[in-house]
């Protein structure tokens, strides 16, 4: 039986909760370390190590470096671990100063100046983006038998119909409640980025009537390119499907939080952004 471990760095445990729901592994893989559900002081040697959360404290970094040495295969699981996730919102100058000033406490792990994805410090064999990745995706990682099939982008998994003659003039609010069933959210004026976001999640958000916020990050087409290409791709979709002025789309895409790119834009932007080869991303 293959042995696997889950190392949780600074994060929300959503990835772990999702993994627990993928209960098909329960009798087929041996979970030897995962502090959320197993009492074990130390991580033994494992075949697969899933790392969730970002590197936020010196303790995170210490744990990460120690764990990867005992792992056959290292998987960055979840958007925080892959590209920084929601923690990137703390990397705006005005915000960073605020919270570092307040976080100076005794006897607790020291905060690093910035939260980082794990590939800043260790080699990663496989990236599993998603906030959180679905149970199906977790199973695909554990099995690693190539049977998992997904569409390239969320859009292809959504099932809503795109209409030619329904062209909104303006974006509706992000949180407007009224959603027509079965019709593409872009036709209804929502800023949905499912057209450029990596598929594989089976589109739970747009199916439920909420625009895709891009938590799985860029699709294979875009993942090795700079973030501007990502913007351009989304704007092209809105240009062909709507009559919404381009400035409006631009402004909405660039609010830091929705950061549509969601929470991970900062990490892909500019020269600092690490390129993650698409072969390594599930």
């Amino acid at each position: 039986m293959k042995r696997f471990a889950v190392l949780q760095l600074s994060g929300c445990a959503g990835c772990e909760v999702s993994l627990i729901n993928a209960d098909a592994w329960v009798d087929r893989y041996h979970l030897v370390y995962m502090p959320l559900v197993v009492s074990a002081y130390d991580m033994p040697e494992v075949d697969i190590l899933l790392v969730s959360g970002g590197v936020r404290t010196d303790e995170d970094l210490h744990m990460l470096r120690r764990a990867v040495r005992r792992a056959g295969r290292v998987v960055a699981a979840g958007t925080c671990s892959v590209s920084g996730g929601v923690a990137n919102l703390g990397d705006r100058d005005e915000v960073r100063e605020l919270f570092l000033a307040e976080a100076n406490r005794h006897r607790v792990p020291r905060l690093l100046p910035k939260s980082h994805p794990i590939d800043r410090y260790v080699d990663v064999d496989l990236y599993l983006p998603g906030c959180p990745p679905t149970p199906e995706l977790f199973m695909a990682v554990l099995q690693a038998d190539g049977t998992f099939k997904a569409s390239k982008v969320v859009c292809q998994e959504c099932g809503r119909t795109k209409l030619r003659d329904m062209k909104p003039q303006h974006l509706v609010g992000f949180q407007q409640g009224k959603v027509l069933p079965d019709i593409c959210l872009i036709n209804q004026g929502y800023l949905c980025v499912g057209s450029s976001t990596r598929g594989g999640c089976r589109a739970p958000c747009p199916r439920a009537g909420h625009p895709c916020v891009g938590c799985r990050g860029p699709s294979d087409m875009l993942i090795e390119r700079e973030s501007a290409a990502w913007f351009t791709s989304i704007k092209r979709v809105f240009r062909s499907m709507t009559e919404i002025p381009e400035e409006e789309i631009d402004a909405a895409l660039r609010t830091p939080q929705l950061a549509l790119f969601l929470f991970q834009f900062a990490d892909y932007a500019g020269d600092e952004g690490r390129k993650r080869p698409k072969e390594k991303v599930l």
């Binding site: 600074s10 994060g11 929300c12 445990a13 959503g14 990835c15 772990e16 909760v17 999702s18 627990i20 729901n21 209960d23 329960v26 009798d27 979970l31 502090p35 959320l36 559900v37 197993v38 009492s39 074990a40 002081y41 936020r56 404290t57 303790e59 996730g85 929601v86 703390g90 915000v95 605020l98 919270f99 976080a103 406490r105 005794h106 006897r107 607790v108 792990p109 905060l111 939260s115 906030c131 959180p132 609010g173 992000f174 949180q175 407007q176 409640g177 009224k178 959603v179 069933p181 739970p204 958000c205 439920a208 009537g209 909420h210 916020v213 609010t255 830091p256 939080q257 929705l258 929470f263």
Partner: protein, 438 residues
């Protein structure tokens, strides 16, 4: 002075317990939350309407509670009243959260303490091992998963849900989907009750073996449910059981600062809350001490048994665990009641006009009253405070830890039971560190 440090597992998030000992005497015991992300800062300048998507990321275990509290805070600012069907669907969301959380706490976090194992996942349910008789692992995961299905149905996805929106919910629940969910809950109910009975008995046996259930001293309690037919959707907060009388305060979320004293801690990334200096307890035992009638037959039967056996108010800390079992049954039964109502209305939300201001969103999360407090200027978040139920419990947790530490730290030695005792104490309160530090 010697320091004993005990890392914690089978709780949500990163924390440890530190016990300070001088000349064989326990000087103090601390609960240290060791992670910090900074959500109150992340959200500054966020367009207010994005909050219901950002803040669930505070915690993957409690994301539903944050999602709903966030929407309620914004509705408070905008002056929006969602239609009744939206409130029913949001109640279903909270019930799914309750079901999932209590199943996780009961079976994944604390059942191993009853069975003397490290993890429920090491149980072998196969016929060859004889494990097919109890099948605890399989059945526990099944019950827990029903809760996640309920959240998915009402919230779009079971972690970081998205269906609650300002003014209502994105869509209703078609009759067919409601019927399927109803049947799943109906199937799960006897399994859940069976597991709760087993858990109840093994807890009593453990209590007998240990002689005491930990910190049994009276405390005051805080909850935001009603005494009759509680609704975890949250209206007002009650503090009760303190020295001055039965109910010591009733207040809306907007007045929390008048009643709750919140102080930061220099040895932990989580602060601490008191009721004017008095230790408070939130979570399942607070609700079990308050509620007289759950409004569902089987859960009421468990509640009656609980009150008869342990009195009211009851104070032994491991009763938090048993009270979670009552709520597990309640969540299933109440969700079935709601699913029998029509939830497929065409209008599931009302229009709203955004405006600036200050607002408060309260829900009774599994761990107690959760408040989101926002100030919006120019459509953006100018300040956000997250008032977290686990933080209400931290003084009570430390008080209970001191009791446990004094029992097992002897002048000449530290008894091995200390570590297990610390784990049992902390898990009874089911703290959520990701939420507490946010």
């Amino acid at each position: 002075m010697a320091t004993i440090m005990i890392p914690l597992s089978r709780v949500e998030g990163h924390a440890r317990v530190v016990i300070e000992v001088r000349h064989g005497e326990v000087v103090d015991a601390y609960f240290q939350a060791t992670e910090f992300r900074g959500f109150e800062y992340f959200v500054l300048d966020a367009p207010a309407e994005q909050m219901p998507v950002i803040v669930p990321r505070i915690c993957g275990v409690c994301s539903t509670a944050h999602h709903v509290a966030s929407v309620k805070a914004l509705e408070d600012i905008y002056g929006v009243e969602p239609p009744p069907v939206a409130l029913q669907i949001r109640e279903l969301l909270m019930l799914g959260q309750l079901l999932q959380n209590q199943a996780t706490s009961l079976f994944i976090f604390t059942m191993p303490d009853r069975l003397g194992i490290d993890s429920i996942f090491e149980l072998d349910d196969s016929p060859a091992s004889g494990g097919e008789i109890t099948r605890i692992k399989t059945r526990a995961l099944q019950v827990r998963q029903v809760g996640t299905h309920l959240i998915t149905l009402a919230g779009g996805q079971f972690i970081h849900p998205i269906k609650a929106v300002i003014g209502g919910v994105t869509s209703g629940i078609p009759a067919e989907a409601a019927e399927t969910m109803y049947q799943e809950l109906q199937w799960a109910l006897p399994i859940a009750m069976d597991l709760v009975d087993y858990y109840w008995e093994s807890s009593l046996a453990m209590g007998e073996r240990l002689g005491t259930w930990g910190d049994d001293a009276p405390a005051c309690y805080i909850a935001s449910v009603e005494a009759v037919r509680p609704n975890y959707y949250g209206e007002v907060i009650r503090v009760f059981g303190c020295e001055e009388g039965d109910v010591c305060a009733v207040f809306p979320p907007s007045r929390y600062r008048e009643f709750l004293t919140m102080e930061p801690s220099d040895y932990s990334y989580a602060g601490q809350t008191s009721f004017h200096g008095q230790v408070m307890r939130a979570n399942s035992l607070a609700r079990a001490n308050l509620v007289r009638d759950l409004g569902t037959p089987r859960a009421n039967e468990y509640l009656r048994r609980f009150h008869t056996a342990f009195g009211r108010p009851a104070h032994a800390i491991m009763l938090f665990d048993l009270a979670r079992g009552i709520e597990l049954v309640y969540a299933i039964e109440r969700a079935m009641q709601l699913l029998e109502m029509p939830l497929d209305e065409p209008e599931t939300s009302v229009p709203y006009r955004p405006r600036d201001g200050e607002g408060f969103g309260l829900v009774e999360a599994p761990r107690g009253p959760l408040i989101h407090h926002y100030r919006v200027e120019d459509g953006k978040i100018a300040s956000a405070k997250f008032v977290i139920p686990t933080v209400h419990n931290l003084l009570a947790i430390e008080r209970a830890l001191r009791v446990a530490a004094k029992r097992y730290v002897k002048p000449d030695r530290v008894e091995l039971e200390l570590e297990a005792a610390v784990g049992r104490v902390v898990r009874a309160f089911d703290p959520c560190i990701a939420c507490a530090t946010h």
